[in-house]
Symmetry: C2
Subunit: 448 residues, 2 copies
């Protein structure tokens, strides 16, 4: 009998899992169950969708009909899973019960909204789905003052988008820097100044205390002060969506997310569950940098996890998901900021002492027109000299450089070894003869 | 007494060596001897200089006066070294004799010009120095037909520059593809078509048989046919400049270039020579991909070698130069082409059987405006599954990607391991959620 695979969730992880399952098992019966009304889109695209830089129809790359017709995958949208019976191997959703041989849990995360009054008022949003994006776009039509809670990457991308749309934008952040978890203050401050120069207002070290208004929001209170507000967005981080996993008694880790094996099987009371697989924002990962758990929660990670979970759920040649350094990048105004591995903050969470190196230069040869400023910061563990993290701010071409440093990190290179064995391609229109990445590691070795 | 260091050669290797020596030894007496009239420039910049995209004064970054004043390095230009006495430890140049404690040989390479009649005619050039570039620029003023011998990277960059200047450009190549040694035919053909579309003519599988004319060139004969020619450029590869090394009896390797230790000391009859160091195009390297020698001859490599040789010559904390994958990149018209490690041709030189994977996509998310086509090809060794080479053609951002793949190669990652442990940073304006590099390695694994 054909294997029955059920995937819960239609984000990057869920849809990748379904497609990988199809590649591994031509005759499997594959069903995706999702509360969402749109599927197969990248939530990272929503800021650009709101701004109108990308069309909603382009962002949503495939319809359920496409999956049905092209890949033989049944996708049931607006279908909330009510319960899963792990003994009987059935899923109940929208009043109907489906049997499975393998289950993939890709329930993602939900935006953490601080427990203050007024968050249920009109024109208060989170940014998770295309529906959220469209609702925000509609609400913005009459709005002048927009407040964003949270100065993480998504919050800042939204701030730029709203500013481009001519809004008055205030970002309220609890910590003393933007991108607090994954960027260091010296790098974050450059980004904050860049955004301030574009007219975005920042209120730092200010926990949000209340959202005020009648039926709709009209002000936000933070650190004792009121800020006028027509539209409020919470971009305050994502927590794993654990309702279903908890009902199944699956093991949840230290970071409040599902634990998975390298094959992306779930665990129950320390034992591997052979017929339940996990992918995406709902799970925690192993760190490639330090022994221990880490949260990745990136679209690129979700796609890779989905591929492994779906393939293994379908019984394909076994695939493994490795430990992660979680490289990230964001285009914020005219700057790109990228990072990988540990920031100073994350390093201190591991109790690790770090040494930093930093270099500034250009993205092209000095004499070649059009080069943009490029700053690279590299962190090493003081004990082993291993490179454990890096951050880049650049006018262009940050992404490839951070992927390069990620490779050095996951391969365990020390700073000294990096200088002996690392090379950069060079031609005047695309880099300096000695890339700034190498100069930063030279500085790191001097500091050691 | 202060250590006396003499550097022969003022290219990227020589000047990096001199500067590194100064960093390592504040009181050393450092002298650079060079035939050239300009120093501290990248020969890779010359095509852009000829085209006028970069000014000659910008390309030449520093003068001898700068080195004297800022770094205490004496640079004697237009000073040909006549002889070196390795016993007495002296160098004779322009009739004067200089004693040394450490000698750095960075004599570079010279362009190989095929032994045919007429190469000494007027308006026949090679491209090695800024002087060559200026002479070519002057000759082009009255020229209509330009012939380039050799379709390597430099030949193609020149072809584009001349075409931009409105010239009638013919490239004559002995092999059946452009960039024959380091690019594979399928990738090279894309570049050739791109240049043909820009009006550049290619004559393939055609060895140059004669350069014809009275005092100046007026035609070039290749494969039995005459091509009208007002200016002829040989871009036919670089051979190590071995006059001085041979007079010193230093060991020359299988590839016709100096052999150096990881500390970049020279050898004589198999014994390390403690007071002679080597850097740049004059030396062969160890391959990071396969056991054996390889030629690197890249500006980026020369800079790294210079730093090691100069530091060690000055007695600094020992530095090492590792094996190389030699990543390269070139901007040719609207395309960037890049490569690293082994091409199919180089792999066959090592006797290695390869498996290829290939993927096409974009440099940005599909729905984000401005994305450019991106093709990535990856080669693995069929025996060990190690990734041994890669090539990229892209409208933008090839460089960082090839540096990333280079890191995977020098760290010995297999194709399968790459999929388990490699990650790409993602945001819609700078990459697809699964970068094309990863898709290419997925394809590679399928082919294995």
């Amino acid at each position: 009998m054909a294997k029955r695979i059920i995937v819960i969730g239609s984000g990057a992880a869920g849809m990748s899992a379904a497609s990988a399952a199809r590649q591994a098992a031509r005759d499997a019966e594959i069903t995706v169950l999702t509360e969402d009304e749109d599927i197969a889109y990248s939530p990272c695209a929503i800021p650009w969708g709101i701004e109108g830089r990308s069309g909603w129809d382009e962002i949503v790359m495939h319809t359920p009909e496409f999956y049905e017709k092209e890949r033989g995958i049944k996708v049931l949208t607006r279908t909330r899973v009510e319960s899963v019976d792990g003994e009987a191997k059935t899923v109940t959703a929208a009043g109907k019960t489906y049997g499975y041989d393998s289950l993939v849990i890709a329930t993602g995360g939900r935006v953490f909204v601080p427990p203050v009054e007024g968050t249920d008022l009109g024109n208060v949003f989170v940014v998770r789905t295309v529906r959220d994006g469209k609702d925000i776009q509609a609400a913005l039509a009459d709005a002048r003052n927009v407040v964003i809670g949270g100065a993480g990457v998504i919050g800042l991308e939204l701030a730029v988008a709203f500013r481009e749309m001519g809004k008055d934008v205030t970002v309220i952040e609890m910590m003393d820097q933007v991108i607090p978890r994954i960027a260091d203050k010296d790098m974050a401050d450059v980004i904050q100044r860049h955004l301030e120069d574009r007219g975005i207002r920042f209120v730092m070290k200010a926990p949000i205390q209340a959202v005020k208004g009648e039926s709709k929001v009209n002000a936000v209170t933070a650190a004792g002060k009121d800020y006028p507000c027509d539209v409020m967005i919470f971009a305050t981080g994502v927590r794993a969506n654990l309702d279903i996993p908890k009902s199944l008694g699956l093991d949840v880790g230290q970071l409040g997310a599902l634990i998975a094996s390298p094959t992306l099987n779930a665990y129950r009371r320390g034992r591997l569950v052979p017929d339940i697989f996990v992918a995406g924002d709902v799970m925690q990962c192993e760190s490639a940098v330090m022994p221990g758990a880490t949260m990745s929660q990136l679209g690129s990670t979700a796609v890779r996890q989905g591929r492994v979970a779906g393939n293994n759920a379908a019984g394909g040649d076994k695939m493994l998901f490795g430990p992660v350094a979680s490289p990230w990048v964001s285009a914020i105004g005219d700057l790109q900021i990228a990072g990988t591995g540990l920031s100073l903050g994350l390093a201190s969470w591991y109790g690790v002492d770090t040494v930093c190196g930093k270099a500034e230069g250009l993205t092209r040869a000095r004499y070649y027109p059009g080069g943009k400023p490029l700053t690279v910061k590299v962190l090493a563990d003081r004990t082993t000299h291993r490179i454990v993290g890096a951050q880049i701010i650049a006018g262009e071409e940050a992404t490839g450089r951070i992927d390069w440093l990620t490779s050095a990190i996951v391969n365990g290179m020390t700073a000294e070894d990096f200088l002996v064995r690392s090379e950069n391609a060079y031609c005047p229109p695309t880099s300096m003869v000695k890339d700034v990445v190498i100069s930063a590691v030279e500085d790191l070795c001097r500091q050691m």
